[in-house]
Symmetry: D2
Subunit: 160 residues, 4 copies
């Protein structure tokens, strides 16, 4: 069984008309997995709905506690991109479960988006990787602690 945990971020951004504000809303994950014709046992847990720049230490402790106390062994965590590497490092030491963080650089509801591909990567990586914490972004699967977001180039890359 794969446990999906959503925490907000660009991937989940939706748009409300009134004052042209983007807001983080209901996860698009369920719709995405349906369209992908997946036949796996999964559940989606909406844990947080925040831009990743606004995530606090307490939020990260909550995420870690959730994973540690849950009986699932495979976790896909959707997350804003700006602090995804920090959150991944904050999960270090979880050695008996496989956790893959992913997200997207443009919202899943856009016509052109990296969201679907990235979630596909995460779903495969969580099944095929040894226990540990990973980030699936930019067409690559990185180990936690060995990746950074290059904001100027708009991509994730290995930490030197």
């Amino acid at each position: 069984m794969i446990r999906f945990i959503t925490t907000g971020g660009t991937i989940d951004k939706i748009y409300f008309d009134a004052l042209s504000q983007f807001e983080v809303g209901e996860s698009v994950l369920n719709e995405m997995l349906g369209e992908a014709l997946v036949h796996i046992d999964y559940e989606i847990v909406p844990l947080l709905q925040k831009d990743s720049l606004e995530l606090t230490d307490e939020d990260r402790r909550q995420l870690r506690a959730y994973i540690e106390n849950d009986d699932a062994l495979q976790f896909v965590v959707t997350h804003g991109t700006d602090t995804m590497p920090e959150t991944a490092e904050g999960l270090a030491g979880i050695d008996d479960k496989t956790v893959v963080l992913t997200g997207s650089l443009s919202p899943a509801r856009f016509r052109t988006t990296d969201a679907v591909f990235n979630v596909g990567m995460a779903v495969a990586a969580v099944q095929t990787s040894r226990p540990g914490v990973y980030i699936a972004m930019s067409g690559q699967v990185f180990e936690a602690g060995k990746v950074r977001k290059n904001r100027e180039a708009n991509r994730f890359e290995p930490l030197d």
Copy 2:
């Protein structure tokens, strides 16, 4: 470096107006990887353009020879779904490279399609799996020889 090999199938179907015929055309892979914002070293080799029901033993020998003689270590093969399990079994014994077959149940050019998710899965699986031959479909990564297409249910599932 990831070597993508396209062989045709539903994922690559395109539509020509004249007599409402679908035909297998230029691969949509390059466009898909661009939209997914991947930053990996890759090359796409268009090897065959066939419905998978029309693939011959000779076609499969050609695919196997290509993989064996190529210097890449990671291969993603796009393929029609109907005989994907047979082709995977035909690649058995390639033990020093990782080969992941994928495709889709509806064309990549459709507005609603499983193609992008599946290729995302394959790109992750080829990086994270031990050498061997795999199929990434229906939200799962299967080992060659342990999977079949359930045509009625329109999904891939473990072989009992």
Copy 3:
């Protein structure tokens, strides 16, 4: 009230997996009008499901009879493109109602398609045009009898 009549054609093409055949299926009109956030009084009548090359004189008589006997005054007819001009001419003489034929050169279910734009044109043209028979294609509203499909250029154009 706008009466939509569907007769088949590329706009309604859907894809069934089995043998890679496109088939004309349930109209996508209802979904399209919902997404377009239309707030008009309308009903959709699925009259025929044919490629327009296969439409017979009897089919065209049936369409004409339907329009003449219906109490609506505004009709949007979705139709295959190959014989759309012939069908429009066959409706000539209906002078107390406004009839707009439209369709698309690529299926509405494709990610890239002219279908939505064309139906938008037809919905406006049927409200703003004097009674008569029209074709809305290629960004233009043509009068019946003054338009042809240029198959090579894949567009509709004025008849000289």
Copy 4:
């Protein structure tokens, strides 16, 4: 010849990663008309890039002057929805040209949007309507001065 004038609004909203801000950017009109396979003579003039709540009297004078001084006879104006009815009324008295305002309630770059349908309506209405000023939204073509946006219901409707 149809002159398209873009003034900003939701239809043109694009998304920049940095701080999750939507911004009004380059018009998507050209891409949209290409995908719609239009074969009409047209030019796009980017006049303003504003949310319609921020449009000033001076902006509206500029728009009116542009239309009055231009030699085209058919104008499609893309515009934010919140004050589209006011702008339409501000163009009242232009009696020798046909002007159709349109826009969308969700951005054209979204996967699900009313933008393409609405521009299709406007392109037809500008060709088939008598000179005057109109709004094409919510599946309807309204005359200026006879329409309002119902913000709660998220639609345009006739003014009582």
